[in-house]
């Protein structure tokens, strides 16, 4: 499914999935996803819980590899490389495709060491102070923490922790940042701060964000994929993509009735 790009500027594709099916053991969790994620845009995944939007997200940085029973068929291409080919190193993938999680998860280390963690792993030789400052500024956190860089990353507020996690992801200069409901644990003010931040970050990074919050998707994203879930006769619930298009199309003039119902709040 390709979003209607006639009205959009033509951009390069970062991720392309073809007939992607995701399994846990024999259980089909998500079926037949064929989407393209454009570069330097914010793509939102919305849908009811259990529809597999986070599962799809975690395929893009191969984080699902941590689950033993997980496997896929179909293809995911990242810049035309087959992401699940046996010669791909998932560790290298995750370094280029960063991730911000639902619950802020700073390491129990200092703010400085949280940011420096990734660059140190990668053998960064330059001036770490500069990199830390730059990353914190990119995450709009510098002014709030510049005087307490040695304090623990877990000692700041939840909203600040989440921006710290964004700064930490940005510090390794990824190509893509995946965000798995990054605001669901935050208050409305922190949420707005992060939404503003997203607009700045998309100048440099491709962003995919999973969200429960439809206002957030409509405010912040350029493209939106609506996921839904259907149960088979055995009661197994399988997610699929109903519709994928420019965000204003999804929210104002969707093709599918299910999408219209969901975005207008009549769903479920």
């Amino acid at each position: 499914m390709t979003p209607n790009l006639q009205t959009a500027r033509q951009t390069e594709t970062v991720f392309r999935t073809e007939n992607l099916n995701i399994y846990y053991g024999n259980f089909l969790a998500v079926k037949d996803v064929s989407i393209k994620i454009p570069k330097h845009c914010i793509t939102a995944f919305i849908g009811p819980s259990g529809c597999g939007k986070s599962t799809v997200l975690r395929c893009f940085n191969r984080l699902n590899d941590l689950i033993k029973s997980f496997h896929i068929d179909g293809k995911i291409y990242y810049h035309d490389q087959d992401l699940y080919s046996s010669e791909i190193d998932p560790v290298e993938v995750r370094r280029q495709v960063g991730m911000v999680f639902q619950k802020p998860n700073p390491f129990p280390k200092s703010i400085y060491d949280n940011i420096a963690f990734g660059p140190r792993l990668l053998g960064y030789k330059g001036d770490m102070d500069v990199l830390v400052e730059r990353s914190l500024k990119q995450a709009a956190l510098w002014d709030e923490v510049k005087d307490k860089l040695k304090e623990s990353g877990t000692a700041i507020s939840g909203g600040q922790q989440q921006r710290l996690c964004i700064a930490r992801a940005v510090a390794v200069q990824p190509d893509v940042i995946l965000m798995d409901e990054p605001c669901s644990a935050l208050d409305p003010i922190s949420t707005l701060k992060i939404e503003d931040l997203l607009q700045e970050l998309k100048e440099q990074y491709t962003i995919i964000i999973v969200t429960h919050n439809m206002q957030q998707a409509s405010r912040a994203s350029d493209f939106t994929a609506f996921f839904n879930v259907q149960a088979n006769d055995k009661g197994q619930r399988t997610g699929y993509v109903v519709e994928y298009d420019r965000t204003e199309v999804i929210f104002q003039n969707p093709m599918q009735e299910a999408t219209r119902e969901y975005v207008s709040g009549r769903f479920g």
Binding site: K103, N105, F117, G118, L122
Partner: protein
């Protein structure tokens, strides 16, 4: 019908009065036993101190620093035993900590499917359940014949180092240290594993998400986060090693000397007690009580520290 209702009401009232006393009595009795558990520890400390008092009075702190055990002249000092306890425990930790933490990592990571992993966890637990005296028997008849040639090789090649400057004759400090390391390994492995498993999955994912490999994640995120729990486990193991008696008594040689060589024979406080107590009397008993008190004090400090560490971890979760 009316009187009978009254009747049953008054009976109810009586019953609840009686049962209220029963309740109070029951809570009182359980409370007595609950507090008595704590008092057992104090009773041990008190009783052993009182019986050790004559020896404490006579030898003072010099008891710990002098090497003599002379029932004929009634002069006692437990330096070789204190030294032996410290050295054997140290050797045991030196071997068991890296291997135990390695086992804990092996069992907390997903290298194997749970179906294979669970029996291994069980086997490691089983190692902790084997009676000390069985390890001693195994030590005498299996480990010592195996280790003596190795000890001889060390003495011949590295004999100029004080650590190996005695000829191994079978039992010895190094054998005791090795047997102890086997016995404390399951403690370190089990408690470290608990601490590792308790590290939140989010931290692991965060590290993986930044492009860390499995072992970078372990060394830089998981082990630091589990550190105090692991240290708690090591302390518990140390307490166990210091107090362990039978296996050590059976393989250490029970020589009343403090030799710098680990190939030499030696003794520990607990082996001294095991060997002498049944046939001792008078001031010798009191001196043995003094030695027991020292052992009690050492393990108490170590155990309290361990307990506080393990607790602080539990509170954080």
């Amino acid at each position: 019908m009316v009187p009978s209702t009254n009747d049953s009401q008054s009976m109810n009232w009586h019953r609840s009065e009686a049962s209220r006393w029963l309740d109070k009595g029951f809570i009182g009795v359980t409370g007595f036993f609950g507090i008595a558990v704590a008092l057992v520890l104090l009773a041990i400390a008190l009783r052993v101190s009182i019986d050790a008092f004559p020896a404490i009075q006579k030898f003072g702190l010099g008891f710990i620093t002098t090497s003599r055990w002379n029932p004929v002249e009634n002069l006692y000092g437990a330096w070789p035993q204190v030294y032996g306890t410290i050295v054997t425990s140290f050797i045991a930790l030196l071997i068991a900590v890296p291997i135990g933490v390695g086992v804990a990592l092996f069992l907390s990571e997903d290298f194997l499917s749970p179906r294979i992993q669970r029996p291994i966890v069980f086997l490691v637990e089983l190692l902790a359940a084997i009676p000390s005296v069985v390890f001693g028997l195994w030590g005498i008849f299996v480990l010592i014949p195996l280790l003596t040639p190795i000890g001889k090789w060390f003495h011949e090649t590295l004999g100029w180092i004080p650590l190996f400057n005695t000829v191994p004759v079978g039992p010895g400090i190094y054998v005791a240290g090795l047997v102890l390391s086997i016995m404390i390994l399951p403690i370190i492995a089990a408690i470290s594993r608990d601490a590792l498993v308790a590290v939140p999955l989010e931290l692991r994912q965060a590290a993986y998400g930044l492009g860390a490999t499995r072992w970078e994640t372990i060394f830089q995120v998981i082990l630091p986060a589990a550190f105090s729990g692991i240290v708690g486990g090591v302390m518990l193991a140390l307490g166990r090693a210091m107090g362990e008696t039978m296996a050590v008594t059976m393989v250490i040689g029970n020589a009343n000397v403090a030799s710098p060589s680990i190939l030499a024979q030696g003794s520990t406080v607990s082996s001294l007690l095991a060997n002498q107590f049944a046939e001792a009397s008078g001031l010798q008993i009191s001196s043995l009580m003094y030695a027991a008190l020292i052992l009690f004090g050492l393990t108490l400090i170590v155990n309290i520290l361990a307990e506080l560490l393990v607790r602080s971890v539990r509170l954080k979760l």
